[in-house]
């Protein structure tokens, strides 16, 4: 009797897993020819920094426009439970539905696991997609998958993170090293020139590519300004708001004087802000983050955060997509690097507006 229950339980579980993996694969067929222009469109420039872009209108016929291209593009996202990544997906689907009605985008969620992304890329290769966009969780594990795809004639575009070796893929990035450097340099401007800043550093998940680059950025600036910084704490809060809060609380308990907190992402920075608020030290300690998520931009606006580095996720993913489209059409492509932008109380309204666009999109 027990064996029967176990057997049918196993079958049920297996079935559920199959159903789960099928529904986890999302598809979007575009709406047929809308005439509206999108707010975010892509520029054709192959230059290093893409800032404002020209708007493109959807053509109604005549010459074969890129917008009439029929293709299937597979995209594997790092982790759709992450707000920044999921915003990218929403922006992409919105963009595709408005501008490329004949392109089918198959998106999959890597759920924070690089080996899952390896399987997903294999799926795309087997399905024979016309191009793959990969938003890698890690910079090493996916290399064999990239090689297989490229060998099968499928162009690959790296979004956000790239794998370590250049083997024929293109990269749409928002470079972390210069962004982190700018964050530190801005911190320096917040204090008088002759003062040594007691700074506490909150790192992200150690070994994560973004953490490595952001730490490199910090080192670059701090090493040439050794007298300017006194690093009082240097620990990881794993990109989490709760850990950032807890870590900040414990730092405050330590009695060590802190002038500023440099956090490698906004979630940790926001956690630190909460702890500082509870201790009543908002006027004494400045907090800086990276990413430019909605809460952080609000924080900069209301003064609880000194600054953040805004990553235009929408533009990054659109750049990736356009690179994929160009690759499919056989055009020449090269990497696009979109600068992280310093968001301070002076210019925060620009970013509030950019984010309000994202807030208007719903997920599927």
């Amino acid at each position: 009797m027990k064996k029967k229950v176990k057997g049918s339980l196993a079958i049920t579980l297996a079935m559920l897993m199959c159903i789960g993996s099928i529904t986890g694969c999302g598809k979007s067929a575009g709406e047929s020819g809308t005439a509206e222009t999108t707010k975010e469109s892509v520029s054709e420039a192959k230059t290093e920094s893409v800032t404002e872009a020209k708007t493109e209108s959807v053509s109604e016929g005549g010459v074969e426009a890129p917008e009439d291209l029929k293709a299937t593009i597979g995209i594997t996202f790092q982790d759709l439970s992450n707000e920044f990544v999921s915003n990218k997906k929403k922006a992409l689907m919105d963009y595709v539905s408005k501008n490329y009605p004949n392109i089918e985008v198959l998106y999959l969620d890597g759920a924070g696991d690089a080996s899952t992304q390896v399987s997903q890329m294999e799926t795309f290769i087997n399905q024979g997609v016309d191009a793959i966009i990969c938003n890698p969780q890690e910079s090493t594990t996916l290399q064999p998958s990239y090689e297989k795809a490229i060998a099968a004639g499928i162009p690959v575009v790296s979004d956000g993170t790239d794998i370590d070796e250049k083997i024929g893929q293109v990269w749409s990035s928002c470079p972390d090293v210069p962004g982190a450097e700018e964050q530190v340099k801005y911190l320096m401007t917040l204090f008088p020139e002759d003062q040594t800043i007691d700074v506490a550093i909150m790192r992200g998940v150690i070994g994560h590519q973004a953490e490595i680059f952001r730490s490199e950025g910090y080192d670059n600036v701090m090493n040439v300004n050794p007298d300017k910084f006194n690093i009082v704490f240097d620990q990881t809060a794993n990109y989490s708001r709760e850990e950032g809060l807890q870590l900040m609380e414990n730092w405050l308990s330590s009695g060590t004087h802190i002038d500023a907190v440099l956090a490698q992402n906004d979630e940790m920075a926001l956690g630190a802000v909460e702890a500082i608020k509870s201790a009543g030290k908002e006027d004494e300690i400045k907090v800086l983050g990276i990413d430019g998520i909605e809460d952080a931009v609000s924080g900069v606006k209301n003064g609880s955060l000194a600054a953040t580095m805004f990553q235009d996720g929408t533009q990054i993913i659109i750049n990736s997509f356009e690179l994929a489209v160009k690759s499919i059409r056989g055009e020449e492509v090269s990497d696009i690097a979109l600068s992280q932008e310093l968001c301070t109380p002076e210019n925060v309204d620009i970013y509030v507006e950019k984010l309000s666009y994202l807030a208007g999109l719903s997920g599927n």
Partner: protein
């Protein structure tokens, strides 16, 4: 009769052992840095462990029956999201505080009930059931929140996690109240005795007329309630509800229970031990952060202590 006496003895021994371990770590930390043993820091530590503490109280009941609950983090997260949704200042969905909190706790309790029914009546293994619930509820959290955090709480909601009563943080007060209720339930009520009986020997418990399935269901419901309460409090403290909150919470909760002397095989243990377990984990993190010990070492130290606790647990079973 002899067995219960020996069980009681080894229980006292294991509890005593934990108290010694806690006192030892506490002393070492107090000497290592003068900032550890200060009133503000002690209050900070208490506040920090309250959330895991509340969850661990519920986990104690569950583990005493020989079960386990891996879904606590997800239940906590969803409770936070639901209660937060109804507490956004000036929004269309804003509700009176009591209703918002109740909604959050209710959601977690319902899933606790589902856990309980599947395990007790469905006779499915707790590990698998709660692992599935963990994943399902995490998914529900993402769908419910559309993957976005919820912020902008009204003042009432904020008070729960951020306020204090006579200088004692409200989460600590809540933890204290839950602790009192748990002690009374587990140690001084008929229900508590049934919990131990079912965990010690389910067949014997049933033979002596205890409704084992009902008891087993109830402990998961209790677990759900605790997660709901902790979820509301934690979300308020963080000033944001996130669909990614409390991932991995089950580990600290289980560790607190096991370190505290409750046996994973069920039938023995106590809530007071769990509190000491939670405190131990809490002071380690707090003390090591103050001393600026690298996170890598902290992980190693914390893991070793858990191993030690499980080792002691094994020894107690043998004796």
């Amino acid at each position: 009769m002899n067995k219960t006496l020996m069980n009681r003895f080894s229980l006292i021994l294991s509890k005593f052992g934990i108290i010694i371990a806690f006192a030892a770590v506490f002393t070492v930390l107090s000497i290592a840095t003068p900032y550890f043993l200060t009133l503000p820091n002690m209050i900070t530590v208490l506040r920090q462990i309250s959330f895991n503490g509340i969850v661990a109280l519920g986990m104690t009941f569950i583990i005493v029956t020989g079960g386990i609950d891996l879904s606590v983090g997800s239940l906590l997260c969803l409770a936070g999201l639901v209660s937060a949704h109804y507490s956004v200042a000036g929004s269309g969905s804003e509700m009176p505080l009591a209703i918002a909190v109740l909604a959050g706790v209710l959601v977690a309790t319902i899933f606790g009930l589902i856990n309980g029914l599947l395990i007790a009546k469905g006779k499915l293994p707790p590990f698998i059931v709660t692992m599935a619930t963990m994943t399902i509820v995490r998914g529900i959290s993402l769908v419910y929140s559309d993957g976005r955090p919820i912020t902008g709480f009204n003042n009432g909601y904020k008070e729960i996690g951020q306020g204090s009563v006579l200088n004692i943080p409200i989460p600590v007060v809540i933890f204290g109240v839950m602790l009192l209720i748990s002690v009374i339930l587990l140690k001084y009520s008929k229900f508590g005795r049934h919990v131990f009986a079912v965990g010690g020997n389910e067949k014997a418990a049933i033979a002596s007329g205890i409704n084992a399935a009902k008891v087993q269901t109830m402990v998961y419901v209790i677990g759900g309630v605790m997660c709901g309460i902790a979820g509301v409090a934690l979300t308020s403290r963080l000033n944001a509800a996130s669909p990614q909150a409390a991932e991995g919470y089950e580990l600290d909760a289980i560790a607190s229970v096991v370190i505290g002397g409750t046996s994973l095989s069920g039938g023995r243990g106590g809530v007071l031990g769990t509190v000491i377990g939670a405190l131990l984990i809490g002071i380690i993190g707090n003390g090591l952060d103050i001393m600026n010990v690298s996170s890598y070492y902290q992980k190693i130290i914390k893991g070793c202590i858990i191993l030690l606790a499980v080792f002691l647990d094994r020894k107690n079973i043998k004796s």
